[in-house]
Structures are given as C-alpha cells and as structure tokens.
Symmetry: C2
C-alpha cells in the first residue's frame, strides 16, 4: 500500500503558514497534525482537535520514551508533535501536514528526514512589516526586532526542499497543493513494488 507523506509547512511568523495549511486541508485529502501541550485550554478550544491537552507529567513521560518528532518549552508550557499519532496516519496511507516554526522544523528534519520541508516566505519585508503592523499589537521597536529575526530565520532556507512565496494566498495554496501531488510521483521504494508486479505479469 502507498504510504502517506509528511509535509512540514514552516516559515517566519507573519508569512501566512497557518492560513495556507487551513486552506490546504479544505482543498486536498490531507490531515493536519495536532500538537500536544501542557497549556490549559482556552475557551472554545477542543481536546484532540486544537491540541491534545495533557498534564506536565504525561508530557515529560512522552519525552522520556522519545515520543515526539519535536518539542519545545515556550513561556513555561510544553508543546510537541506526537510521533506515534503522525506515523500511524502515514502508515495508513494518509498524508499529514504540520505547521511549525523554523526551530521545530529543523528538529523534525532530524527525527523524520523523509518529510517534505516547505518554507513559506512573505513577498517582501515591507509587506511583512505591513502584516505585523496590521495586527496592531506591537511597537515599532518590537517590529524592527521581529524583522531582523525573520532575516536570520530565512537563512535556514537551504535546509528546506521547497520555498513558496505567499503574495497571493490562493496561488500559494495551489503551489503547496502541486508540491503534495508531485511528491507522490517521486521515484521511491513504492515504484519497485510496481516493477515486481510487471515482472510477474510478463
């Protein structure tokens, strides 16, 4: 049976990776990976849908049995990608898409190098500035700091397989969809099964 593929959609904050993933799962037969966290659920958040909400004890146990493709501690809360759940879906032939920051993506590159790594870029720094400013939650200094950070992050792009510039959101989603389709046509071990079948037929 054809195995599923893991698509890691990553990039600087403000590039639009979240929107791209949401539109992708509406458009294609692909599932979004759900993270595990020790953070308390916010109003409206549903366990197993938005996150797997677990205790710190359960999370640390999972770390100890190497049960994460990646994890990180942010502002005192743990967040991680549960390995077994993702691998099971892939085994069942389902594609999985995972939205994650650059540090997380680099860890997954180590733990699951067979993943397909897609970097989402803003069309320009001035557009990124506009998007961040539009959120209205950060000062001018904070924004400049963020943009400097983004520039550093972008230098990791050579660890990725693909890069999609998110100028027009629909065009960007179409590009990611094309990558998903194309990757299923890559020459891989699956092909050798087909060739064996040919040999038996002749």
């Amino acid at each position: 049976m054809r195995k599923g593929l893991l698509f890691v959609v990553s990039g600087p904050s403000g590039a639009g990776k979240g929107t791209i993933c949401k539109k992708l799962i509406d458009k294609m037969d692909i599932e979004l990976s759900v993270s595990m966290t020790t953070r308390k659920p916010r109003p409206g958040e549903v366990d197993t849908k938005n996150y797997y909400f677990v205790s710190e004890e359960a999370f640390v146990e999972t770390i100890q049995v190497e049960g994460f493709l990646e994890y990180a501690k942010v502002y005192g809360n743990y967040y991680g990608t549960p390995k077994e759940i993702v691998l099971k879906k892939l085994e069942e032939g389902k594609d999985v898409v995972l939205e994650i920051d650059i540090q997380g993506a680099l860890k997954i590159r180590e733990s699951y190098p067979k993943g397909v790594f897609i970097f989402i870029l803003p069309p320009s720094m001035s557009e990124l500035r506009k998007r961040i400013t539009g959120r209205g939650s950060e000062s001018e200094d904070d924004i400049n700091l963020r943009l400097g950070e983004t520039l550093k992050e972008v230098s990791y792009i050579d660890k990725y397989d693909y890069c999609v510039v998110n100028g027009d959101i629909n065009e960007a989603v179409n590009r990611v969809a094309a990558i998903v389709k194309a990757e299923h046509s890559r020459v891989s071990e699956d092909i050798y099964d087909l060739i064996e079948k040919y040999k038996e037929e002749i």
Copy 2:
C-alpha cells in the same frame, strides 16, 4: 530573472509520453523541444515545427562542436536535441519539455543534469500489451520481445526524479503539470536573490 526548467519526459514506447507532452503544452506555458534530423521530411511535416531538417554535413558539424544535448543514429538517420536552442529558451525564462526514449534521456542526464527527469509507466504490462496489439502492426513474437525490452528499460527508473503511471491520461497530465509547478518552488539559487532583496529592504 527566473530561468526556465527543462523537463525530460521519457519511458518505454507505448507508455503514452507523446500524448502527455502534447496535452501538457496545451495546458501550460511550456514549449516542446524540436529535434534536429537528417531524415527527409514526410508529407505534411513542417521544418522547425516537427523537426529541424538538416543535411548530414550540417548535423555532423553540430556533433563536432558539441552542439547536442544528445543525439543518435537510427536506421541510417541522425536525430538530436540542439543544445543552443534549448538553453536559449531556458535563459529567456521559458520552460521546455522534451519527449525522448530512455537511452536519450540518460544521455541528457549527463549533458544537462539540472533537467527534471520524468519516467512515464504503463499501468500494467497487460495494458501495454493491449496498447501495442491495438496498433496491429506487430506479431505475437515481436510483442513479447518488446515487452521483455520494456522490462529492461524500466530498471533505469532510478536515474529519474519522478515516475508517473499513465492509466488515465488526464490524471497523468495533471501529475506532470503538478511536477512542473512544484519544481518552480524548489529551493534553488533564485531564492538567494530574493533573500538579498529582503536584506536591502530592511
């Protein structure tokens, strides 16, 4: 400026690579590479459209100046892919698709390794047998010989980047179209130009 990409569509005879290329150029902004030959034009064939029809002297001169991405002599006639014409289109930012047999594709892999190599497979050997039999021009023995040959050719698939099974022709064309689109999102040198632009902007 974004450079064009060369897509080499190859595979055993009867797999449908010709039909796929024709439908691809109808659907996408991509040009078909025209071969050069010393064979005489057949009725209806147009110079520079079906082939570049040249004298043997002109062809051999082109060989001597390494002017082909690949060439071969078949039944006394030369056939070749003119390097300069293809490279010029790529420089101008145009994508080029090239339909060729497996031996030719392997030569292009040497002369232009940046090409994207796509192997077209029939859905099964029995389907391939049906397609060849349908043409009605070959004996049972010839057909068995051909299928044995095909099996040998298929073993070169690991020299290719992609493999598309041509069961349903439209699905196969869509897959090749997705490959063309996805390959333009590959992380490549072009990306570094964009990053430089980001740096200037900040």
